[in-house]
Structure formats: structure tokens, C-alpha cells
Symmetry: C2
Subunit: 534 residues, 2 copies
């Protein structure tokens, strides 16, 4: 019967060749490293003998739990968790066996216990040759990226044996900020969904989780200082992130070299805030009387700023990242216009009828608060467009439509760092392989000098939550976001869409094997699909 099975297998493999993508000469690497040489020479790996170790001379050792965790995690990704357990122990050593991967942190401070930041060094060198592979990185962040790459180099042959090609890789990201935005306000996302997304981000070398945590629809962030915000503003008692949950997300992200940047978007997008914080929103008027509905944050009351300062102080403590995203997008002036107290306030301040000035007045105060708390700010592009005085280091996130190149030119012309999100709104779904559209974007393709280009710190793939919750998040985001991941990590000249298709198809199957239900690119199958398709 065994012979029959092998025959079946061979025939099935041949049968599938028509729809299965060709192999890329870069194997299934995603995103593609900056420089790589893969030799045809193969080394075997024996799961029972292979080890990932701290190499001699490394500034990190067994005390570095970030690496200890990563070693175990990647061992699991490489070999799976159970199927090799029954392998024959008496098998003789191969003549060309890779016995270990030695990880060496070369900098005196490995940053093992720190949080990643925009300045973190993610570069690494990986040399795979007999009898041991060596992964060198200045900091643990580069080691994490190198472990991912190493795991992507290991393959199984037709008999289920593990092998790796001798390789020489030198790698570092093209952009420092490579983000995924998830929106937990329009739909609550259970912790499990967020954690799986962090796994997927690590598989694609993303390093920023932009947590659009609250918005008009709900306020799931459980504040210590203002517990009523979520008590009143969350969808339900079930739909809340406790301080423990938030801590868990930040820790889980850190272990994968991922920053967590929370967004507390004001003065618009704040309907849910008003439920738990009295007088925070502007009362709208219908003629001479309050209509009972509320508009954006009320910018004319001192209590507004007292509250924001206290909340920002808490946020500073809870979220370790250097940056806080302050939003500032899509402020509707209708309600401010209707309110006589707002009009009076504007007259006093000499704002004439410019509500943009009023908005700027508010945002500048918030930006100053963040500055005074020794944090830096990210804002959506309107804040820049409205002429708000920004700190030089305030990052402007460009999100609007098709004119984003012009916006990038203007933002960087003024000397501000920029993040590009506009072409990567992944909630806008369409039929077919739209990953190609995301892949073909060149972030630096705008008019500007070299200094301007250097101000583009990166980009973000955004999955807004109007139509997304735990039921469809993962397959909607992955592998479409992977296209953005390679664009932001790999060199500018990595643009071969056919080669990308071949590698991404394999990469998607690998994500599936690792528990991320990434959807297919096109017709075909994954050889390791289990009975339930995951």
C-alpha cells in the first residue's frame, strides 16, 4: 500500500503543476532581504539535534527572555510541534548537517529588556554554512528579524526531511516605521484576534501596531483615571480592554519587536467619549436652544484641557512608546457653528469665522501637553493642512485619497516627518488580486529633494472597522497587508510582481501553517492544509 501512496502523491503533484506557482529563486522569503546569496548546497536539519543558541561573544544570554522566547517560538515554526517526534533516533548523522543556529548580539547593550522604538536597529547578518549558522545583530530587534528569515529558509523535502540551503544574507529595513492600523471601536476585536495579528505582523516584519483604540462608536479602553469612559462608552461590559489586556498586548508586541502606538483621536470622532465624560463634547444648538445632540470636543472650556491632560498622563504611563497618535481628522464644524458660546469665544479670540483656527487652537494645546509630558505626537494630515504650529518632530500621517504624493511633498517641504497610509486602506475591498495595487506603490515617488525623501519614516496598512470584526479580520488583512510589508522593508527595486506572486503564495501557506488564516491569492492549494483548511 505504501507504493500506491507514493504513486498517488507523485501523480497528484504533477496534476497540480498547472495551477501551482513556480518556485522563486528566492524560495519563500517574504519580505525579500536587502542582500542575499543562496547557494545550491543543501544542509540537513535533525529536529532532535538542532538547537538555537546564544553564540559566544553575544551580549545577550539565557537571561534575555525575549530571545529565549523567540528561540522556542521559531523552533516550533520551523519543525512543527509533533509530527517529527517519532523520527528514527538511530539514523546516522548526515555528512552535511546543520547542528545549530548561533545568535550573537554584537552591541554591548542588547536592548533585551527595552521597548522597540523608531530608532531601533533591526539590521542583521545571517550566514548559513556547515556545521552551524550564525546570526549576528547589533540589538535583539535585528535578531528577531533574522530568526524570521532563518525560519523562512528551512524547507521540507519530499520525504519530510528538513533542509536549508547554504546562504549569506545581510538585511535591514528600508523604512523605520512599518505599521498596521486596527480599529477596535467600530467593532470590538477580542484579544485573541489582536495577538494573532501581532504574530502575522512579525512574520511580515511589520514593527508598529497602530491601535485606533477608541472612536465615535465605542470606547473600549478601560481608563484607570476615568473608568466611566468605558463604563458608559463601550459597547458592553464584555467589550472592554482592561489594563491587564492592554499590558498583555504591549508585552506580546515587544517580544516580537513591535511598537504599540495608541490613537486617542480628538476633537472629532469622540461621540463615545461624551457618554462617560460630562461637558466634554460641544452641545449643538437648534436655533437658540440646545438640540440635545453633541458635536466635537468642546474647545472653549478649561475643564476640557484639565481632563485631556490627566488622560494623557495616564496614557503616557500605560503605553511605553515614544509616540502617541492624536488623530485630528475629519472634524465636522456644524455643531461648533450652531453653538452661541463657541461663537462668542471665537469673537473674543479674534478667530473671525474660521473654525479651522478654533480646531488649531485646540490641537495646539493638546500637542503642547504631549510635548510637556516628554512624548512625541503623530497626527492625521488635516492638522498639518490647517496650518497648526507643529513641533519639528511631530509626524504627519498622510491618508487622503489620490493626491497623497502632493501632500507628501508639502509635508516634507515644511520639514515634517511623514507616514504614508493613503494608498493602503485595506478595508476598501474589491474583486481580484488587489495586493498587486498595494505592492506597486512607491512611497518616495513624489517631487522633492533627498532631504524630503528622508523624512518619510514609513507607512501603514489600515484596516478600518466598519465592516470588520473577529469573523473576517484575519483573512481580510492577510496576505494583502504582506504586499505593504515587503514594500516597506525591501529595497526599492524589488518590484517583480511575478516573483512576488510566487513567493507570496508560499508565504501565505506558511502563515496558514503557523495559525494565521490568511486568504488565498488565487486558485490553488497549500500542501500542508489540514482537514479543516487551516
Amino acid at each position: 500500500m505504501e507504493l500506491l501512496r507514493v504513486l498517488w502523491w507523485v501523480s497528484a503533484t504533477l496534476a497540480a503543476s498547472a495551477t501551482v506557482p513556480e518556485s522563486s529563486r528566492f524560495g519563500a522569503l517574504w519580505p525579500l532581504p536587502r542582500s542575499l546569496h543562496i547557494s545550491p548546497a543543501r544542509l540537513q536539519l535533525a529536529p532532535k539535534r538542532f538547537q538555537i543558541l546564544h553564540g559566544s561573544g553575544s551580549s545577550a544570554g539565557p537571561r534575555c527572555s525575549l530571545l529565549q522566547d523567540a528561540f522556542r517560538r521559531y523552533y516550533g515554526y520551523i519543525f512543527g510541534y509533533s509530527k517529527w517526534q517519532n523520527h528514527d533516533e538511530k539514523q546516522p548523522l548526515s555528512e552535511t548537517e546543520l547542528f545549530s543556529l548561533q545568535v550573537i548580539i554584537t552591541s554591548e547593550d542588547s536592548e533585551c529588556d527595552k521597548y522597540p522604538g523608531v530608532e531601533s536597529d533591526e539590521s542583521y547578518q545571517l550566514q548559513v554554512s556547515e556545521p552551524t549558522a550564525v546570526l549576528k545583530a547589533s540589538k535583539v530587534w535585528g535578531a528577531l528579524r533574522g530568526l524570521e528569515t532563518f525560519s523562512q529558509l528551512v524547507n521540507e523535502d519530499d520525504y519530510g526531511s528538513f533542509f536549508i540551503n547554504e546562504s549569506d544574507i545581510s538585511d535591514s529595513p528600508r523604512f523605520a516605521h512599518r505599521g498596521i492600523l486596527l480599529d477596535t471601536s467600530r467593532h470590538f476585536l477580542p484579544l485573541k484576534s489582536i495577538l494573532i495579528n501581532l504574530d502575522a505582523m512579525a512574520f511580515n516584519k511589520f514593527n508598529v501596531f497602530h491601535w485606533h483604540i477608541v472612536d465615535d462608536q465605542s470606547f473600549p479602553y478601560q481608563s484607570i483615571t476615568f473608568p466611566e469612559l468605558s463604563a458608559q462608552g463601550a459597547y458592553s461590559y464584555n467589550h472592554v480592554y482592561t489594563p491587564t489586556d492592554v499590558r498583555l498586548v504591549i508585552d506580546y508586541a515587544r517580544l516580537r519587536g513591535i511598537r504599540v502606538i495608541p490613537e486617542f483621536d480628538t476633537p472629532g470622532h469622540t461621540e463615545s467619549w461624551g457618554k462617560g465624560q460630562k461637558d466634554f463634547l460641544t452641545p449643538c444648538y437648534n436655533g437658540k436652544h440646545p438640540s440635545g445632540s453633541y458635536g466635537p470636543v468642546n474647545p472653549i472650556l478649561n475643564t476640557t484641557y484639565d481632563f485631556m491632560l490627566q488622560l494623557l498622563k495616564e496614557i503616557r504611563t500605560v503605553f511605553p512608546d515614544e509616540y502617541i497618535h492624536l488623530g485630528g481628522d475629519e472634524v465636522d464644524f456644524t455643531c461648533w457653528r450652531s453653538n452661541p458660546d463657541v461663537s462668542e469665544f471665537m469673537k473674543e479670540r479674534g478667530f473671525s469665522h474660521s473654525y479651522t483656527k478654533l480646531e488649531s487652537y485646540y490641537i495646539e494645546k493638546i500637542l503642547d501637553m504631549v510635548s510637556s509630558l516628554n512624548k512625541k505626537s503623530i497626527v492625521w494630515q488635516e492638522v498639518f493642512d490647517n496650518g497648526v504650529q507643529l513641533q519639528p518632530d511631530t509626524i504627519v500621517e498622510v491618508w487622503m485619497g489620490t493626491l497623497y504624493k502632493e501632500e507628501l511633498r508639502r509635508v516634507t517641504k515644511e520639514g515634517h516627518p511623514a507616514i504614508l497610509a493613503a494608498p493602503w486602506y485595506l478595508d476598501y475591498i474589491s474583486y481580484g488580486q488587489d495586493w498587486k495595487k498595494y505592492y506597486s506603490v512607491e512611497p518616495l515617488d513624489f517631487l522633492g529633494c533627498r532631504a524630503q525623501k528622508e523624512l518619510v519614516v514609513g507607512g501603514e496598512a489600515c484596516l478600518w472597522g466598519e465592516y470588520v470584526d473577529a469573523t473576517n479580520l484575519t483573512p481580510r488583512l492577510w496576505p494583502r497587508a504582506s504586499a505593504v510589508g515587503e514594500r516597506l522593508w525591501s529595497s526599492k527595486n524589488v518590484t517583480d510582481i511575478a516573483d512576488a506572486y510566487n513567493r507570496l503564495t508560499e508565504h501565505r501557506c506558511r502563515m496558514l501553517r503557523r495559525g494565521v488564516a490568511a486568504e488565498p491569492l488565487f486558485v490553488g492549494y497549500c500542501s500542508n492544509e489540514t482537514g479543516d483548511g487551516t
Copy 2:
């Protein structure tokens, strides 16, 4: 602490009111029954006491395992499986308690052990009043539909107690054929995905699983007569439906009143067939020599028809439904044109250069075979368009683009039954609430007399598999297909989109509770969402 929890709950409920849909006066019924009266009077249900029973005078009893299974299944859907286990047993009987649902099959032959068919009677009457509800149906098929409706009437109050409003419902479907097409060739769908889809179909009163089981890309159907078809033509040994699998799907469907109609699409869409069946496909020519590639089925060889007859004989045995779908769509003539033997054959037959005539020649032979095997055929519209002689009872499935109304007119004008699929290709995704588009289709809105309208037997929501596999199937199909479900079941005048939104939002949450990961319609949440969002 309990008081605090209740306060939290109340506040959260108020907080959510802005984004949560309003309650429909029809509760969460989906699809809406033909005639219903819901009284404000509430009856309580106690899970430990409530029973679903065979009523006296029913022609079905405990021997009818279809109903026994359905009773247990719906008991589970209504009360959940565990949370009420700890309820206080000593609670006094309520004055207005519903103790049971009595199910009475009124026809002498309950059809309990039969398969559903296009003629099956799915009508039922449901009367809910103290102390017992009565569900009357002529056949078990109506009882299944009524059980679903009954389960949709039961709600939980704020304290977790179950109640139902006194109601009087009389219901039957508007169209006899209400189908979902799944494509297991472009991507293999694991059994579990198919079974979950059958559950969801039952929740939406669909009654036909159109199983597009094989196509160009792969041949997962494991034939008993021709095992090489899947041995060579499936993606892999893993990606095959064994006879046991097929049997399981058919049985599982039958227990839910769902027909399984397999589609074996020829003469196009057959690339994968050619791998396991020598000489079945036409060799294409490059000038005077075979190019090595193959086109549609080779219609000029007797062996083609011998093979098809044997295969159809097997299909007749394996699939109990009265109908077989024979495909017949999208035949590319390029290869036939290139082949000199085909040209010779056409000259002999006097086909001139009409490849349409050649296609018709082939299809007519296949249709005759099916007829001779005492089965009926369904074909895609091209077969009709090409002027093929059809049996009067051959159903034409209309799938092409925007001119489907004209096609419906023509098909029914010729006296053929029709199924409408064109406006319901759910694989064509787009941003936003496209369910409204599907919901707004009126299948009988074409020019024709009453007799023509009566020839429209129903419709199908189609989820072709180019971009769909187990990772994204369920949230992509549900609840978008639910819109089609109501259109095909409910009365023509059920078109209030706002009311539909309110009911469908609740219905989607109910599907979630029952294990179907249906995606959200829009912002909001389900009160019973668990920690992992399902």
C-alpha cells in the same frame, strides 16, 4: 458586586443604543414568514421542562430520526448547551409558561426517510399559545422550516430568562429552488466548511446545495468507476472527497431538508479531467502538429460517450437528487478549430464551420443519456442560447451579467423552467453593504405572461472559488447570502430595507451564536459575542 454588574450592564446598553439597530416588529425572524401575527403576550420557557414532541395524530413518531435529530438540534439552538444547567430547580412554575412544542405531520406519508426534491412541500403552520405550541406540516420538510422559525421566536430577557410571544404563523416558500453554489475545484473546501455551510443554509431556509464539485483546476470527486480522475486530477491526495465524504454531505443535507445537486460541467471547464482520462480532451494543434495542450472534451470519439455514460451512471447512484447539473458554459472553440480531425468530423456531419453546432451535438447526447437514466438536467444558459434541443423539463440557469431579465424572458417564452443566478454572484465583493443590492433584486421583474413567471423555479447565490477557501468562505458568504434567502422565500412585497437591516443584524448575531462566523453588516456588536468573537 452583583448590583455593580447590573449597573454596568444598563449603562452599556444605553451607551450602545446609538449604533445598535432598532428592533423590528417582526423580532429577529429571517426570512420573514408569509403570514404572521405576533401578540404582545409573552410566555416563559424553562429549559429543564420544555420539550419538543411528536404531537398526537402525527404520522411521524420516534422512529423518524430526521425529526428526532432536528428536535435535539433546535433544543440546542434555542437554549444553548450549558449555561442554564445551573438554574434553580425549585423555581415555581410561571403562570404563563410554554411547556412544549408539539410537531404534527398531517400527511399520511411524512416523507421522513425520503430525500427532499423540487416538489417537496415545505409549508407549515405554527401556533404558539399556552400551554403548548403546535407546529403542523404536511411533510417533515415543512416541520424543519417551522422548527427554524420557532427557534427564531424564542428570546432571552435581560435576566437571561427565555420567553416567546404568542404567535400565529402560516408559511411556505415563494420559490421552490433556493440554492447556494460552492466551488470545490478552484479551491478544495474541507468537509467541515461544507457542513457549516449546510447549517447556515438551514438557518436561512435554503434548500439546494449546488455542488460545483469539479472544474479545470482540480477534480476532487473520487469516482468509484474511474478512480484515476481524482488520483490524477485532484490537487493532492489530501484534496479529495471520498465516497464516504460525499455520502456524509448528502445525509447531513437531507436531515436539514437540503437537496445536493452535483455539477459535472462539460465540455468546457474540464482540464483536470484530462489528467486521469486518456483521450477525453481534444488535442490542440499548432499548424499541422499537436501542440501538446488540450482543449474541451473531444466530441468526435465514441469513447468520450462511453465514458460519460458510465460516469453518469455512477453519479445517478451516488447522488439521489432528481437533477444533475451538466454545466455547458464558456466553451472555448480555439482548440476545436485547430484540430484537423474535428474539422473533418464537422464536414461529415454538415456542421459547416459552426462550432456551436458541434457543442450542441455533444450536449444533446449527454442530455439524452441523463434522460435515459431517468434523471433531469440543469444547464447553464449558453446551452439554451446555442439552440440545443432541450427536454421540456430541463432547467436553464441564467448567470450572465446585466441582461438577465431578457434571458429570463426568452428562456421562459420557450417554455423552459429557469433558475436565476446572475445578480447573485457573491464572489464579486465590493466595499460596503452590498447585501442591499442582492436584496433588491426581484426575480420576476421581466417581461412575460403569468405562465412564464411560473416557470421561474428559483434562484441561487453563487460563491465561485477563485479567491475563496476555508479561510474566508463563511464570512464572505454569510450574511450576504441571507439577503438572497429572504428574497427567494418571503413574499414579493417584503422589501423594507430598513426593517431588513434590523432583522438581519440580529439574525447574523444568531448565526454567530450557532457557530457560523458570519461577518457584520455594519458597525456594532453582538451581545452574546464571546471572548474570541464567535
